[in-house]
Symmetry: C2
Subunit: 238 residues, 2 copies
Amino acid sequence: MVATQMIDRNTIEQIVRQIVFQQSGSAESPPGQSDKSELVVSISARHCHLTDEHVEILFGPGSTLTPMRDLYQDGFYAAEETVMVVGPRRRMLPNVRVLGPTRPHSQVELAFTDGISLGLDVPVRHSGNIEGTPGCVLVGPKGVVELDEGVIRAARHVHMNMRDAENYGVKKGDFVNLHVNSPQCSVVFEDLLVRADETSKLEVHIDTDEGNACFLDGANKVELKKQEPCGCKNKVKE
Amino acid sequence: MVATQMIDRNTIEQIVRQIVFQQSGSAESPPGQSDKSELVVSISARHCHLTDEHVEILFGPGSTLTPMRDLYQDGFYAAEETVMVVGPRRRMLPNVRVLGPTRPHSQVELAFTDGISLGLDVPVRHSGNIEGTPGCVLVGPKGVVELDEGVIRAARHVHMNMRDAENYGVKKGDFVNLHVNSPQCSVVFEDLLVRADETSKLEVHIDTDEGNACFLDGANKVELKKQEPCGCKNKVKE
């Protein structure tokens, strides 16, 4: 039992690693009195989303996903279930975690490194925008599903609620930058899409390549900044 | 023979992928009349450097490295030779390319992703600064070497000559930022150490995690920029 629990914990830790930083208050707010939310930066390891129909094909008639661990956003979870993802030339990733709940379309989210090992050119797409993307074969314990499309590298994004959006001076559909200060490998990730709604918690999603590029686990500061034009030589966008 | 050549080409392409961009001229220089060097950004895949002694242990008495392909910097090459790198708990990377010429100390350079798959916490270090870093076991066709230290993630850096340094307004030991504009995944890599000498060609070295994070192959613009303080909200460093 102990061994099983350790394996599960390792597995869980590989699904989503999260780094939480207290956003520094603005110049107008004395320290500790800021009303800004804590900034959570989550590294999503490779995973997939499935339709109800595909869950039944892969795991047997009548099957539903079994929640294993809640994700940071309410209502979402990592499931007990995993699938094998098979790419061209029979290369494969043996244990890709399924996230729940089920969705209207099945979708596989990989880092570029995963795509290279699978032999796939994985396009950067926002979740759900899968038209024209490569497909793959999913193998479960009870069946096989051939996806015609749906393999993507999830584009960076940040979930937030309307109060967060107001604090940052942004709205749904805007883009922001994530500054990660890490010893000897600081990075500014541009192009994070703002996904604002009434209920989401403030959370950035990046993938394992991005998390490893900036050694997020070793970071001493993360900040979200609105993209604004400026005249200085350090400007992020021209 | 054709199959062998294809395998070799694939292998070679995985050693160093290079993206070359013409640096845009400054505002003072009409287009095409800039004296700035072309900016080459190279992605170094995992590789190792060996001492003469370790080459003989791994590949047999009297062995020397066999150059397979010249690297961009004059005098450096990818060798025909590869070694197996074995980490703790007997996890391993089967074919890690040796780069030449030999050095006074053996050193293994991995991306974080490689370190995770080997089970090693790989510190970010500049080449040669290996004191206190983890070791590993190297296995060659004729022998085995146990390194007490020398496994690092190479810190980002840029080689240049003195004319390049003058053009950028920097000197040896300064830090610069690399801006990579890529559709939906632009990145600013900070903390690139300037390694300026009389003869080097202008070339940035990043690793595979960094290259994948910004999808360097799909980039439409790369720029090196001096780190300068500014008062704007997009400032890179505070």
